[in-house]
Symmetry: D2
Subunit: 337 residues, 4 copies
């Protein structure tokens, strides 16, 4: 039997070049960097990876490169949702051929489907997929997968886990109670790193954390502290991680805040396929300065030249003050001010 | 200048063959039937048309056939949303070439975008599309387009209207107040036929109504009664139309109730690409009997052989009773019971 | 049989004196003013009347004064919801004694109750109230009353109508279809004046409109235009009324915007029992200037001394500009600027 | 300085006699029973205690009895929310006189207030209350208290804690990060026992748990296991507690499921003030049999005579099967069946 999915999987962002096409070199360099910093697996074509903004052909290429570049160092969990069941199963077959460990399939979106329809959809996939399937529950974006449906779907051996991005710890407990007794091999992954420690404490096997694409050292460390029982230390880091997570999540339309952050780690991700308005482009620069300060506190990047002001918890104010400080610093350099 | 979009546009369903492919012959026959019964325009690749469940190539074919088959008899409003701005603009170009009158572009979905991002997205399209663009606001499925954003987008000449499926009459009033003074040519279409008469009364130019794909005679009649001032007669029909609409909308996951209904008009639409569970398949048959009774009251189909029981307003009960009646009728025929 | 409830009922605000107690003189003067300007009835202890912020004794006094001051000129619909069924029935008895025409009872709030519990609650009241009862559905604040529940409750003769503040025109249609065939005497009142005309067009009997406490002349006129068939004229006024309604509703926490507006009609309503922060107090003054401009356009008050700037539809901006204009005007007067 | 609020506070239910009045003897007996089984404090007039369904006088009596009966054995946290700020402050004074340790004040409800209004409301109370105040955040029933507002309110010394019933562990982390650095004495209590262990793990000081009114031994044990570092054992109990909690919470309109459960511990709580329909009354009996089985598994009550069937996780089915089993057992006793 295949090994259970566990640890921190990175739902990786995709770098684009000046023309808006996949920047393969940068993407490969980014994968190496993630693996070197300790992520347990890769998760291409997730929400963080903006899978809906790529074409079918691009989605395949994104998984292909990931599988090649990982080359067995870490498992690849490939997002395989396509326009309909037939196309999704076709993607499962292809990703199986690429050597992915499993696929993750988001519940149908756009239409809000009933539990019965969600069940029918995944049942069809479970019956025909040649590769292990992970359910992907993200109720803020897609039709929710409720507990009775998860229980019914866990009867299919081909379904080996669920990735849940609800962020609801009690829901995680309910899933575990409903499924684990009969399926000890079933993997529970949380997509909400803001609750990473409590999720692991109640029994989750790991997570798919966008933040691990920005600060892989930290999410790895929190995982290890928690699983080795150093809970207090893990909680202290968890509280600090939430600040970073919240800023990336709420400062811009997801996942733009994460794109802004990853650039601070030395990668060129280019412009997103979702256009930014003029106001948004300006705001992004201010955001990056605050992000740099938060990440500098973790020791993973240098602080900006002008130094970091104390943060107030009010992001709008912090952005203004930090940018003003940067401008003042420049002026001081030039002997003005 | 092109003519303003007005009247009832049909967001047409797409018939599939036994293999799940587009059934072109039936589709063309259906288009003719709609036009003969008085719809003012066609709207392929809408939510009713399950655009997200088709591939890029299929979506193009769906529009191409519609344009060919209409052949200028009525205008085609083509749904053109694709994975990202570049792909969407490419679709605009192609549909322009096919002879569509305009495109309708749904606000970005899956991710819930802020008004600023929604603006940036449509601005990019407005600047590059060679064909007139209609905004498509459907807040239950996609990022909402709010009034200030509509006002800003109405500054682009290329944007010629909005299709709103919120069903909120006050919102329609607000849109009209915000835009019409500066853009008398801007077209306001409602996607919520349950409020068709009040929407027209407050100033809407027409609608894109899934129900017009089932009972085109009726939606045409309601439109004409309302616009000619026969409000009381229109309201009486409106109240009855709501019963049909509600049953189609709430009896199954959208748009399956509409698919079940259109078959009663003599078309073979095949099975949806969203699989049905066993329970759902059985339920669909019961639903069709009730739908047949409602539609028989309008005189557009015959009542089922067993006759129609009075409806209670409780769909679950009505389905059971009507099906029981059908079984009893069969038994009586055979001399049993 | 008693006369059906119809027309515009004013859910009146309650003026307070400097100590925060009911200002009886001003309240009586306000009631006279409303009746003189044509409201069809009064509705004390509604949401607009902040019934939850008064004590039991005060709520009784509010109804008593209303009944006395009306003195039969117009009917009084008295809000009678209390802490529990027993207390609510006691209030029904008392208001019956005061001479109210009927009571309106909001669905249970705080706890979100199921339809079955909502039914059980109103059934108990229907069985014991000596005065006609109007259901009050306001889903944004209290447990919703759904269509099947309304249908079941309409079986009690004592229940004579429903006041619905959902603002959903289709819901109004559904209620009318479900109840009117068996209860032609049942009254349908809308609490959402932003949809007053369409609600009347589809068959509502009238409304309880907070705005009628501010501009009773206008709501009366819209009612009469609509019921006499002058729909186009009514719609034109409706669109303008929405601007006033939206500003009062969204500018401050309900019903503070309405309190700010009524003062412009020459009444002293004192400070609300919900305290304002410093920022809110300042903002209220700016709001009043914009409200004065909107109301001046209707001819019911004079424009502010500095004149009125064109409004942009962006309330925040309009407030700033209008206040700035006022300050500039003062400075000009003094020869500055 | 007063001792920090910590541990498990019981938001106690109130027993009623045959006439629907407070059953003082049973209430006092219940308080003793709770204290003997280890609850750390009492919380009268909470949501569980149905504070909105009592009169002002009754709410005072409820607190008075609690303070008397506790007699210093455990602290009393008294719910003090009244119709408006003045009345609420009056209640604070009275409860101070009764000897309560602190009051808990729910955010304004019915009207949905903005953060600024929530702030203004609590500021007024903080300035005038003679007794320590705990904020009570229960966003499913009342205006939410957001992080910036909590931070501002924590500047008042009189405000000593927050009781949060959102059930959101990340929100708990955010509150702690925002307030604890400046107010180490500030108490964080969770009202969501379904997440009791993870909440304590991330730093909560305790909770106000309705479930502790049913199985005080268990909530006490979970608290002690968690705070003493026996996390795995605590989590195992937590998962089982969720089953009980979910059944009580979802089986009936809150808090009726808890009322049904407490009777199994040997108390007579009488009928709720919220009337039950006939169907609800029948259903309640079936519910109690399932609850008895769940509680028997914890060893706190005996199993029903007919024994307990395995539970499926589907409450509706479990209720039917268990009741059927009970009927069959009776028939077997009588030699039938």
């Amino acid at each position: 039997m295949s090994q259970k999915l566990q640890g921190v999987f990175t739902p990786n962002l995709v770098p684009l070049d000046a023309r808006g096409n996949i920047n393969e070199d940068e993407y490969r360099r980014y994968i190496d960097w993630l693996i070197e910093r300790g992520v347990h697996g890769l998760y291409p074509n997730g929400s963080t990876g903006e899978f809906t903004r790529f074409t079918v052909e691009e989605r395949r290429r994104i998984v292909k490169i990931a599988c090649e570049q990982c080359d067995g160092r870490v498992p690849v969990l490939a997002g395989a949702a396509e326009a309909n069941v037939k196309e999704t199963i076709a993607a499962c077959e292809i990703y199986h051929g690429y050597g992915a460990r499993a696929v993750a399939i988001v519940s149908p979106y756009y239409y809000k489907l009933s539990p019965e329809s969600v069940y029918a959809y995944f049942r069809e996939i479970a019956r025909h997929s040649p590769i292990d399937v992970t359910l992907y529950n993200i109720p803020m974006f897609a039709s929710p997968i409720d507990i009775p449906t998860i229980r019914r779907l866990a009867e299919f051996e081909r379904i080996v886990g669920i990735k849940d991005s609800s962020g609801d710890v009690t829901f995680m407990c309910r899933m575990i109670s409903a499924v684990r007794p009969n399926r000890p091999d079933f993997s529970f992954l949380t997509g909400w790193e803001a609750a990473m420690v409590p999720m692991l404490v109640v029994g989750a096997d790991g997570g798919t954390h966008a933040t691990s694409g920005i600060v892989p050292e930290l999410t790895r460390r929190i995982f290890e502290l928690t699983t080795s029982g150093a809970i207090d230390e893990a909680v202290a880091l968890q509280l600090r991680l939430i600040e970073l997570f919240d800023v990336m999540l709420t400062s811009a339309d997801f996942p733009e805040g994460f794109r802004a952050a990853v650039e601070l780690r030395g990668f060129d991700f280019g412009r997103s396929r979702q256009p930014l308005s003029d106001a948004q482009s300006v705001d992004r620069l201010a955001l990056q300065r605050v992000l740099q300060c938060i990440m500098a506190d973790f020791g993973v990047v240098d602080a900006p030249e002008e130094g970091c002001l104390p943060r107030s918890g009010n992001l709008e104010r912090d952005k203004v003050l930090q940018v003003t400080e940067a401008v003042m610093a420049r002026l001081r350099e030039r002997g003005v001010g």
